[in-house]
């Protein structure tokens, strides 16, 4: 999903840059400074995730982890992705500096959509199982939307929207599944270890499984500490 330099028209590049700037602004406004290190950690995970290749399916593709960032961070995923993509462009020549805006926009918007989906689904499906389902859907949706948005960005090239979308979707089907599982495991782990981190993502409902789990894990932690 790293579109290289020189492929896209200036109009698409400009749109991507504007979207990224807006998303970064919103993300930084909504960012709770006490959670800054969490954002940095997940940004680092995104940065490294692109180096993990998954040798399944038609093409071997790399992890995106943008769904995970969206589920855990919401809008703050956009600045996190921007930082990670800038470093990838500088260090690895993945994508490029001119396409940074478009690449951040495709993956960042997908992350935000994944976050919305997660929040909405946890509202509909109660219980710890609902949490897992919501996390899986969020992680998979992040990849799906990113692939669709990348195809839209490529619509102006001679490859065309339909071909690009088909190729990207087929190649990313296994990744959708894998990232759904990763996000599910990460969220389940978070619900056990740091439930307060998830609380801000769960539309402020009381009586959520996380609250019970928090009480349950509090005791052993004190014994250990």
């Amino acid at each position: 999903m790293h579109i290289a330099e020189g492929v896209l028209s200036p109009a698409v590049l400009g749109t991507g840059a504007v979207l990224t700037a807006a998303g970064t602004f919103i993300g930084l406004r909504r960012l709770d400074m006490n959670r800054l290190m969490t954002v940095a950690m997940l940004s680092a995970a995104f940065f490294v995730g692109s180096l993990v290749h998954v040798p399944i399916g038609v093409g071997n593709v790399h992890l995106l982890l943008n769904g995970l960032l969206g589920v855990l961070l919401g809008w703050a995923a956009v600045p996190a992705i921007l930082v990670a993509l800038s470093l990838q462009a500088l260090f690895f020549q993945f994508g490029g500096l001119t396409t940074l805006g478009v690449n951040t926009a495709t993956m960042g918007c997908a992350a935000v959509v994944a976050g919305w989906c997660f929040t909405a689904l946890t509202g509909i499906l109660p219980g710890s199982r609902g949490l897992k389902v919501a996390a899986f859907c969020g992680g998979a949706l992040g990849v799906l939307v990113a692939a669709l948005l990348t195809a839209c960005a490529l619509a102006g090239t001679d490859e065309g929207l339909v071909v690009a979308a088909k190729m990207l979707l087929v190649a990313h089907l296994p990744i959708m599944f894998i990232e759904g599982c990763i996000t599910m495991l990460a969220v389940a782990f978070m619900a056990r270890v740091r439930p307060e981190m998830l609380a801000s993502r769960l539309s402020g409902r009381r009586g959520h499984p996380c609250d019970d789990v928090e009480d349950a894990v509090e005791t052993p932690r004190q014994e250990r500490g």
Binding site: A4, M37, A40, M41, A44, L51, H53, V61, A164
Partner: protein, 234 residues
């Protein structure tokens, strides 16, 4: 609190470790970065295109342009090994321009490679083309014999052999200096092609552990700087 931080550090370390493990293990990938390399082998320009970690670009489009004027000079499709070769375009010979070679691998993957004018035969004073061999540079002690003329002083392999009686044509094994230069240059091109290829590969290194750790350091550092300034403001 320290337990939590330790746990986070452990998760981060695990992620990095997993990436490092999977990196070399996983099969070559079809992802983010595509590279094209080109070198000259005799009168052919050979190109090789690959995604990061060595997977070849199959059925990618190679386009060659004049690096100065931007005219399209050649186009073709890569084979199963990501290779495509085309003859040095006539338009580029003697023009002193380089070649800009581009690969389009689909889904927004594109890369370019510049072949310097000095690498292209016939573009500079002393090229490796056959035409240039017809007049070997003076000062090297070569007589300039016509084809078929016997020349006992020729420093060719035939000189070490018993010299043929004068007035006879050289033996079949005998070669004139110009033919020898042609043969040598083609053999050298053949022998040097892998070296040129690996030199080209060296210019686009794969991300290493140092880059990965450095990048993570940058991210944590940026967060640290922001926190520092937040803390001062309070």
């Amino acid at each position: 609190m320290t337990m939590r931080m330790l746990r986070w550090a452990a998760i981060a370390a695990l992620l990095v470790f997993a990436a490092g493990l999977c990196g070399p293990w996983c099969r070559p990938a079809y992802a983010h970065r595509v590279s094209v390399f080109a070198w000259v082998n005799g009168d052919m320009v050979e190109t090789e295109s690959g995604f990061s970690r060595g997977n070849p670009v199959v059925q990618g489009t190679i386009t060659a342009f004049d690096a100065v004027s931007g005219d399209q000079l050649a186009q073709g499709v890569t084979d199963a090994e990501g290779r495509y070769a085309f003859p040095v375009p006539a338009a580029i010979r003697g023009s002193g321009h380089g070649l800009r070679i581009r690969v389009d691998a689909g889904e927004g993957h594109r890369s370019e490679w510049i072949l310097d004018a000095g690498d292209i035969p016939g573009s500079s004073g002393e090229g490796r083309t056959l035409q240039a061999e017809a007049t070997p540079p003076s000062g090297k002690g070569y007589p300039s014999p016509g084809k078929g003329t016997p020349s006992p002083e020729t420093p060719s392999p035939s000189a070490s052999m018993p010299s043929p009686p004068s007035g006879m044509a050289p033996p079949p094994s005998g070669t004139t200096p110009s033919e020898l230069r042609t043969i040598l240059s083609s053999v050298l091109d053949e022998k040097l092609a892998p070296i040129r290829r690996s030199l080209a590969l060296l210019e686009r290194p794969e991300p290493g552990l140092r880059d990965i750790v450095g990048g993570i350091g940058w991210i944590v550092g940026i967060a640290g700087i922001v926190l520092y300034f937040r803390g001062r403001r309070r």
